[in-house]
Symmetry: C2
Subunit: 447 residues, 2 copies
């Protein structure tokens, strides 16, 4: 179950200096600075007893009084010969909407992004999609305002739907969470608002290189866009790939099920945190939030706080003009079918996903510091509404030429895929995990 | 929550007399009579305490000593304003294989079917697919023999894969059960065995009209075959349909979660059954089985026993040479996303699926006894390995001409779809429920 003790520190490898917003787009930079000063979000850790409207059930689950919003409960993972572990998990059995409006301005596709503060954000505000709404948001369970621009994604005012699929989120931290990822071309007028800005898709792709700027939900939706011009390419046949993925699901030796938080072994609860006794995995904490521009002006909530940044890397290779990335069929206990396609290399906390993972054969290449090989390298944030300062280092690295280009010579859980093949799988929903979708968004930013 | 009290009795409507096997194919009939006499399966109800290797946990769940096979646990369904109910549910978190071998003989496609006895079968043996194996079967948890012909579906001897998808099963009785549905053209020799017979696909489609002959698993796989010659038609674009289905999932007001069986309200356990106090829903019983030809010669197991037959009906219509069927986006609490496409009309037990369903607008047409309108009408069995004498009346009926042919004039959960559109959704997996897949198999038998 232990990962190699001498795990390299991703932060210690050489990389380009962080890209600065101001170097990319002066108009954007001015707006961004202005929004940041307007946001005034203050976040302070509090004991669990100072979470109004939240309480622990007799089973130990941390629940909202409405019975909705989300719940911190437990997950039990069991594998071959009794191996496995328990862990807390965030349960939110609802379908939220992550929606991006797109339209052509000056002949170029632009998307409407939102400067949005979330309590777990590393840098205050980040670039969110046009709509980022849980069901609790849009049915106003916690008494916020109506979700702005939602009318373009649902109901009679819906625009032309370009992308629409259900996609999973972190299977190491969520119990079967999924959201509806949509890209829509509006048919009606889109109201202006100071928190929102039309930004050229080309610029957004440059902004992906800025640490902690483009949020996870935006990346997830961008990762659902076709790699070329929208819908211009024939859909590749992917039946051999879906069969391979079903093989992995069928033969996955792990089983995960929900358990009450009180039954989660190896974890303890104090006044201020739920943590594993070995202090190696994430913690559950509580925060009080005071906001300027957010829908609700003051609230408190639990957050999942990882202890250190994760890593997600695509090894890639171009031959005869065709780029391919190396994907892995990856087990994460909170995913509906346990297995989806993920990056070549993916780590989260040091104890990581509950399903154990030995040091992989590609860790060395993934951490390469050779500037000639590193195509993309930025530290980006995971969802700031549920996670506290959760960062992942995303990298795209040229594969070592010695790596076999024939799938048959690779371990059976790895395959070389073109971006078009990956997109065809993304479009089906529940086939490509959230880290890989982020990397697909980053991949589209490469020349 | 109550369905209209005056529910019509499906068995009371006029229908064709049952089709007899001998009238269809004399060679088949002789083999079938011979297999039936060889099967010698005897099934007797027993008290739960006489189930060796099964016991009740302190949470009341009925589990196999191996911790695998399957479990009878509980499901809690909650809807708007506190409505909902609890019920027992069969939990089997594994992916089994339902596999059909197909090859051309005398220029005509034939499939390899199996005469297989299951403890819950109404008529002793039924026609099963080439392979019908739970993970427990093929990893031999309950010490049966190796699964015959499995090598054509998995591993290096796998043939040419024509159909491969994960499909749900009864969402009213199973907790998120799914199986891998495969159609494979073998590349190697297929060993002969007296329980197996190559039967022309055309004949199998006639045999579907015989009550309780072609089992649910065979129908499920047949329902995944393309409606025309294999792969000859372009795949229709279904993005508007998948968006409509995601709408239904997103706005579904129901939530279902697992609970221990001891926490299921309104149900009681005696020595011999688990039943709802109003005696309206299915029961859980136990049976002892002695078999001649089955892998294990003697065993005992729980079964879910419905109190009465269900009903599943497609209304159909042909205009300008194109046949369409009326499908409904249907909520069933045990389905992964709660909603899949189902028949126009579907009932199970009188209290039916846990999610309540009012009498629908199409019940009258669905029960039509007019022989000029009834295209298909047979009482077929659901899975005899988990259900005790579970029958469903499957019907395909011409829609009344007064029914709107424009989807916009129908309730929003109904749509007219061509068989090709439905097939494109079936091929994605988890889009079309098991009753609708059975009806698709029956639909392919129409002239």
């Amino acid at each position: 179950m232990a990962r190699a003790a001498a795990r390299p520190d991703p932060a210690a490898t050489t990389a380009d200096p962080a890209v600065a917003v101001a170097d990319l787009d002066a108009g954007f930079a001015a707006w961004w600075a202005e929004r940041r000063s307007a946001a005034r979000l203050s976040v302070a850790p509090v004991p669990f007893r100072e979470l109004p409207q939240w309480s622990f059930t007799r089973d130990g689950d941390l629940v909202h009084d409405s019975g909705r919003f989300f719940t911190v409960s437990g997950m039990r993972v069991r594998g071959p010969e009794g191996s496995g572990r328990d862990q807390p998990v965030i349960v939110q059995p609802e379908i939220g909407v992550l929606g991006l409006l797109v339209k052509h301005l000056d002949g170029e596709p632009h998307v409407l992004l939102q400067a949005k503060a979330e309590p777990g954000n590393i840098d205050g505000i980040q670039l969110s999609p046009t709509v980022q709404a849980t069901r609790s948001n849009y049915t106003r369970v916690h008494r916020g305002g109506a979700t702005r621009h939602l009318e373009h994604f649902t109901g009679p005012g819906r625009g032309r739907v370009l992308v629409d699929s259900l996609q999973s989120e972190q299977g190491a931290w969520f119990w079967r969470k999924h959201n509806r990822n949509m890209v829509v071309e509006p048919v009606g007028e889109v109201a202006e608002h100071p928190d929102f800005r039309w930004i050229a898709l080309r610029t957004v792709r440059l902004l992906l290189r800025v640490d902690h700027l483009v949020n996870m939900d935006t990346r997830s939706v961008l990762g659902c866009l076709p790699p070329g011009p929208v819908l211009s390419e024939p859909v590749p046949r992917v039946s051999a790939l879906t069969s391979w993925l079903i093989d992995a699901k069928q033969h996955c030796p792990w089983y995960a099920g929900p358990v009450p938080l009180a039954d989660v072994g190896g974890w303890t609860r104090t006044e201020t945190e739920i943590a594993d006794v070995r202090a190696r995995s994430f913690r559950i904490i509580a925060v009080r939030v005071e906001a300027g521009t957010r829908e609700v002006r003051q609230w408190a909530q639990p957050l999942l706080a990882p202890r250190r940044p994760g890593l997600a890397v695509f090894l890639c290779r171009t031959s005869e003009g065709v780029r391919r990335v190396l994907v892995r069929a990856r087990t994460e206990p909170g995913l509906g079918d346990l297995v989806e396609l993920g990056p070549t290399v993916q780590w989260s906390d040091d104890t990581g996903p509950a399903v154990p993972e030995e040091a992989g054969p590609f860790d060395g290449s993934a951490l390469s510091g050779d500037p000639a090989c590193v195509r993309f390298d930025a530290e980006l944030s995971e969802e700031g509404g549920r996670f506290h300062r959760a960062a992942t280092r995303y990298r795209i690295v040229d594969a070592d030429p010695s790596l076999p280009s024939d799938d048959a010579e690779l371990p059976d859980d790895y395959r070389w895929l073109t971006p078009h093949q990956l997109h065809a799988l993304v479009a089906r929903g529940h086939h490509v995990n959230v880290q890989a979708r982020s990397l697909l968004a980053c991949l589209a930013s490469l020349p």
